[in-house]
């Protein structure tokens, strides 16, 4: 079992990695899965696909938007500072105090700029029916995947979908690459 602080850091990184790149970072996959063989097999499929998306669809505009989202989470919630800091040496109490604050402000920022909703609205661990013609991007089947939809199963994760993006207008020029400006205090 890995420590709380690392789990937290992983969770954040996975979230953004999935949101903007559609992949889970390699090192996290490696740490979380026990067997090396599995790790190799997953990226071998995922990696070329991700690159393809990046090459074909990820226009400069959407890359800027990704930076912008990150900049907003940094501005309002100091998220980048947090992820970039080596937190391994801090006691859980110290980390917890910071995380509570970061959690509140990042959550508020997320609510402000992105409307998230679950893909399936049923309770988790309750039975659901996967309809005919479902979108495999939206619903992932796990376990004994066989037969034809409609299929009954247990909802293990409700999923998340972005219902609306309400990002402010883009900064101009060099501002687009800025996640957080350097601060200089004039005495």
């Amino acid at each position: 079992m890995i420590g709380f602080s690392r789990r937290l850091s992983f969770a954040f990184r996975c979230f953004f990695s999935l949101l903007f790149e559609g992949t889970i970072p390699q090192d996290i996959l490696r740490t979380l899965t026990n067997s090396d063989a599995e790790v190799v097999s997953i990226p071998s499929k995922a990696a070329p696909q991700a690159q393809k998306v990046a090459g074909d669809q990820l226009m400069p505009e959407s890359a800027d938007r990704a930076v912008q989202m990150l900049a907003l989470l940094q501005r309002d919630g100091r998220l980048v500072d947090f992820l970039q800091e080596d937190v391994s040496s801090y006691p859980d109490g110290q980390l917890g105090a910071a995380v509570r604050s970061i959690h509140i402000s990042c959550r508020q920022a997320l609510e402000r700029y992105m409307k998230l909703e679950p893909i399936l609205s049923s309770e988790e661990d309750h039975p659901v029916t996967v309809p005919v013609g479902f979108d495999p991007a939206a619903i992932k089947l796990v376990g004994n995947v066989a037969g034809e939809p409609p299929i009954r199963g247990l909802l293990r994760h409700r999923g998340w979908r972005v219902a609306a993006v309400t990002l402010p207008s883009m900064p101009v020029g060099s501002g687009r690459a800025i996640v957080a400006p350097a601060e200089v205090e004039i005495p």
Partner: protein, 626 residues
């Protein structure tokens, strides 16, 4: 003192009725469409788009009354653009407040308090106070005007795009001012509205607006909540100021009628003081632990204290709330400082510090008079709101002509039968309860029953109540709704120098001739009897102008001597008699005073036959020796 008809510009009713709360810390705008059947016309609160972060415009229902004067080094180019203006000269609203915390030298805050502070030159560019040299400053009037102009632009973008439709300049606007504003401050407010291009402005006192908002929320049932002889205390504690008024319920033609019978002084004390007091406490706590808190972190602490306070007020069972200051720079977790706000501290600082249990005879500490007092706003020297309330209620015993309408106790204290709260601070149930508790201890002492929950009138939506109430008032003026009768909130005098032989180094003693009696009602006028002044046609004449909040017994025509500190001098009034072919002749004139329907005071010179009238104008300028 009979009623005469005065020449009045006939105007058609405007399409919209607009209420504007030009607050010390937040402004708001509410409106209703008068085309809809008036009784059903709903009052709506307007959304005010504003820059909330560089490159980010968002809708808010409040416009923070902050103006930031950006320099070249402040914001990236183009990041302040508004839908209607690519490069605004000033930042107004939320971003101004945020940025001002980082760079206070370019921020104008509390412009409204400056507007009412006679110690400053209010039409001269003095704000931001103590700004660096290269910042081009604005006058308090200009800053207020900027806020109004901003609201006007927002309105016009929505209601009068492309110059068609219902421009705000053409709507009836009801603009609120603190009840404690004197004639000068009201005149300056009117001028700032004029500068902003608003042409149909009526002033209204804020506590009255709050009461109108309550009336609106009650519909017709308000008549069941109050009865003849009741006295409502409006207690308005906002972000920066505290304002009290008394409204009496009486009977007229068999129907209930309302009259504003007393207003308090202008007290610069509010929620910001309270949050800062909490931040200072936590700062001390942290410093005892050996942590140093710098100015920047104190800002953060201030903000966090506000949230923690609100949380504890809302969650009566929680005993404490964490306050976390994240580390600066890249050492975020490593530099995190954590402390907590404990309920006991909240009680001690806010409830006991700002709302202590005091006897009705305990007056607030007087303003400090230090030789080299730093010139700035005259913040209240005593933070106890309850002591200011004690002074307000005991002042009302003194000689008021309204005494018949004021319920008084055996020691003479004005004793309200109801309380209406307004202002952000009074959102906290604990503070409301404490204030009622203190008031009740006084009422019992004065021989009255304590107030119960039915005596506390609850206005919904405290943040927008004043703007809503102002719009309601506008509707009431068109005959749809109840109006509060109100009159001059002070007594006004003209200074008359005694005819005495001049003594070197001594000013001739000044006498004060009462020209407006306290309580003189809107829409009435008075002729100052038995006194004529000889003025030279074509030459400016100056009258010294004085006012008193204390001498309520003086009647029009009374001449005062030796008033001690009870009467204060305002800016002088000026008039130049223009009369064809009479240049240089001395013309005997009489003085007439009016309190207008739009809430202003006017003094006129009238020729003996009444055929010619000249209006006296306040010449507001810096007073020497202040």
């Amino acid at each position: 003192m009979g009623h005469k008809t005065w020449p009045r510009r006939q105007q058609l009713d405007s399409e919209f009725i607009v209420g504007i709360d030009l607050g010390t810390t937040n402004s708001a705008l509410a409106y209703c469409d008068s085309a809809a059947a008036l009784e059903n016309a709903r009052i709506e609160v307007a959304t005010i788009p504003q820059v909330v972060n560089p490159n980010e415009v968002a809708d808010r229902t409040l416009l923070p009354s902050f103006l930031y004067i950006p320099g070249d080094m402040d914001f990236p180019k183009g990041s302040l653009s508004l839908p209607w203006e690519a490069e605004p000269k000033f930042v107004i609203g939320e971003l101004a407040r945020k940025r001002g915390a980082e760079s206070p030298g370019r921020l104008v805050a509390s412009a409204k308090s400056w507007l009412s502070y006679a110690g400053a030159n209010r039409t001269a560019p003095i704000l931001p106070w103590q700004a660096p040299e290269e910042v081009s400053k604005l006058s308090p009037v200009e800053v207020s005007s900027q806020y109004l102009q901003y609201l006007r632009t927002v309105w016009d973008a929505h209601h009068a795009a492309d110059g068609k439709g219902y421009a705000l300049a053409e709507q009836d606007v009801f603009l609120t001012v603190p009840a404690s504003f004197d004639e000068e401050a009201r005149e300056l407010t009117r001028r700032s509205a004029e500068q902003a291009g608003l042409q149909r402005v009526t002033l209204l006192e804020e506590p009255q607006a709050a009461f109108y908002a309550w009336l609106e929320s009650q519909g017709d049932t308000w008549r069941k909540r109050v009865k003849v002889g009741d006295l409502v205390l409006v207690c308005d504690v906002g972000g920066g100021t505290t304002d009290f008024s008394l409204i009496a319920v009486s009977e007229e033609n068999g129907d209930l009628s309302l009259k504003r019978v007393a207003v308090g002084e202008h007290i610069l004390l509010g929620g910001d003081n309270m949050d800062l007091a909490l931040a200072r406490l936590l700062q001390q706590k942290l410093e005892v632990e050996g942590r140093h808190i710098d100015t920047y972190q104190l800002q953060g602490l201030w903000h966090q204290c506000r949230s923690a306070k609100e949380y504890l007020f809302e969650h009566a069972k929680s005993q404490k709330q964490d306050v976390t200051l994240l580390g600066k720079g890249r050492k975020l977790v490593g530099g995190t400082i954590k402390t907590e706000l404990v309920r006991e501290e909240l009680n001690r600082i806010l409830v006991e510090g700002f709302f202590p249990k005091v006897a009705s005879g305990e007056m607030p500490a007087r303003q400090r008079r230090i030789g080299f007092q730093e010139l700035g706003l005259p913040y209240a020297a005593d933070a106890a709101v309850t002591k200011h309330l004690a002074r307000f209620l005991s002042q009302q015993v003194q000689n008021s002509p309204e005494s018949a309408n004021i319920r008084r106790g055996r020691n003479g204290l004005a004793c309200p039968t109801h309380v209406l709260f307004n202002g952000g601070v009074m959102k906290a149930g604990m503070l409301r309860e404490r204030l009622v508790e203190v008031l009740n201890s006084w009422l019992t002492e004065e021989g009255f029953e304590a107030l119960g929950p039915q005596n506390v009138l609850d206005a919904p939506d405290l943040e927008h109540a004043v703007a809503r109430g102002a719009a309601y008032y506008g509707r009431a003026r068109r005959g749809q709704g109840v109006r509060i009768r109100s009159g001059a909130s002070r007594t006004y005098y003209i200074g008359i120098e005694s005819a005495m032989p001049a003594v070197p180094g001594m000013e001739a003693p000044l006498k004060a001739l009462c020209v407006v009696a306290f309580g003189m009602e809107e829409g009435t006028e008075a002729l100052i009897p038995d006194r004529e002044f000889g003025l030279v046609v074509g030459e400016p004449a100056e009258f010294r102008f004085l006012s008193s909040t204390i001498r309520k017994q003086d009647r029009v025509g009374d001449l005062m001597e030796n008033w001690g500190s009870e009467i204060e001098e305002l800016s002088p009034l000026e008039v130049t008699l223009a009369l064809e072919g009479q240049q240089g002749t001395v013309l005997p004139v009489r003085l007439e005073s009016r309190v207008t329907e739009i809430g202003t005071l006017e003094l006129w010179c009238a020729s003996r036959d009444g055929a010619n009238r000249w209006k006296l104008e306040l010449n507001i300028r810096e007073k020497s020796g202040q």
